[in-house]
Amino acid sequence: MASLREIKTRINSTKKTKQITKAMEMVSASKLNRAQNNAQSYEPYTQKIREVVASIASGNSDASHPMLEERPVKKTAYVAIFSDRGLAGGYNASLIRSFIDEINKRHKSKDEYGVIVLGRIGRDLLKKRGIPILDEITGLPDEPVFNDIKNITRLAVNMYADEEIDELYLWYNHFISPIQQDVTETKLLPLTDMSEETDSKQTYEYEPSAEAILDQLLPQYAESLIYGALLDGKASEFGARMTAMSAATDNAGSIIEDLTLSYNRARQAAITQEISEIVGGAAAQE
């Protein structure tokens, strides 16, 4: 059995760890709150664009745009949203696992795809596996604004417009609840499912023309979807971290309990031994 002093040290260090995980849990909870608010305030923007695009796409069928049409796929690009920091449970691990599995299934060689990665952990993981990285952003703030990722959204959309890539997929953790985040894949480009949503029957005048508007609107829409996924991913990250930290705090609690028990036992044993030594010594004197 470990000595009294050793057990005491372990109890103290576990207590300190517990304090830290507890604090991180509370910080994540408040950040999660804000992330959810941000995701909510973003919602009307994308909804509105979607409405207008859908009405153009369904209204006059002669308006076409390369972003709305499928073409033979030679190269695929993925936008993958990871976190910058760890200690978020399975947040990054589950995303990278499904992502790599899917890539290996779909592509035979590394020339067929490229990844635009957000988040330091994701970048490191992908680099280690030798996945071709087209671009990266790390060190994003906890509450990102659209400006922070504008360059990357523009790059992705321009690459599609220049036919360097023929498909664009989005990978991120979709927030369901603090204890559940699902790895989600969305096909971003081409936008094929637009015309399905025709619930709002509104016919517009287009100034100057429907094509000119699609030209501006579709890139803006695609860019906003990437941003939306980032906000969703951030909420997931804090949810995952909060849950992981709350589990860590609970575990620390039960470790402390166990250690305290063995500490008391060891103390008891030491006292018993001392007493029997004294009694033994006294008996020898007589």
Partner: protein
């Protein structure tokens, strides 16, 4: 007097919401003035200061990159970035202006993205105009 409900929406949330009598913006094809009862219209916007007139007061909102959607009783401006005067960082806009001008000057000699610098200058000027500086 009849009014229009105006919403200025960006990915970071709603910037302005309210009832106004007239909206004027600069679309890419020219100035647009919208009164209540306008036919449904969609038009892409230039970088501009949108003027929202309400009871003889004019609220300015700087708008960059986006479009306007008009319905008879409702106007929505969707932009990548938009600010009301109080939200504009004047210092930053000034710096951006100087930077953009500098780039435009050098663009004659070097290979610099002329269009991008020009847009940046326009954005900075619009912001300064809206902020009243």
């Amino acid at each position: 007097m009849s009014t229009l409900n105006v919403n200025v929406v960006t990915p970071d949330g709603t910037v302005y919401e309210g009832d106004v009598e007239m909206v004027s913006v600069r679309a890419q094809s020219g100035e647009l003035g919208i009164l209540p009862g306008h036919i449904p219209l969609v038009a892409p916007l230039a970088v501009c200061a949108a003027r929202l007139k309400h009871e003889s007061r004019v609220q300015l909102v700087s708008v960059s990159g986006g479009f306007i959607e008009v319905r008879p009783d409702k106007v929505t401006i969707l932009a990548e970035a938009a600010e009301t005067p109080s939200e504009i960082d004047v210092e930053r806009a000034r710096e951006a202006k100087v930077r953009a001008e500098d780039r435009l000057n050098r663009a004659k000699q070097e290979e610099i993205d002329f269009k991008r610098a020009e847009l940046a200058l326009k954005r900075a000027n619009t912001r300064l105009e809206v902020a009243g500086k």
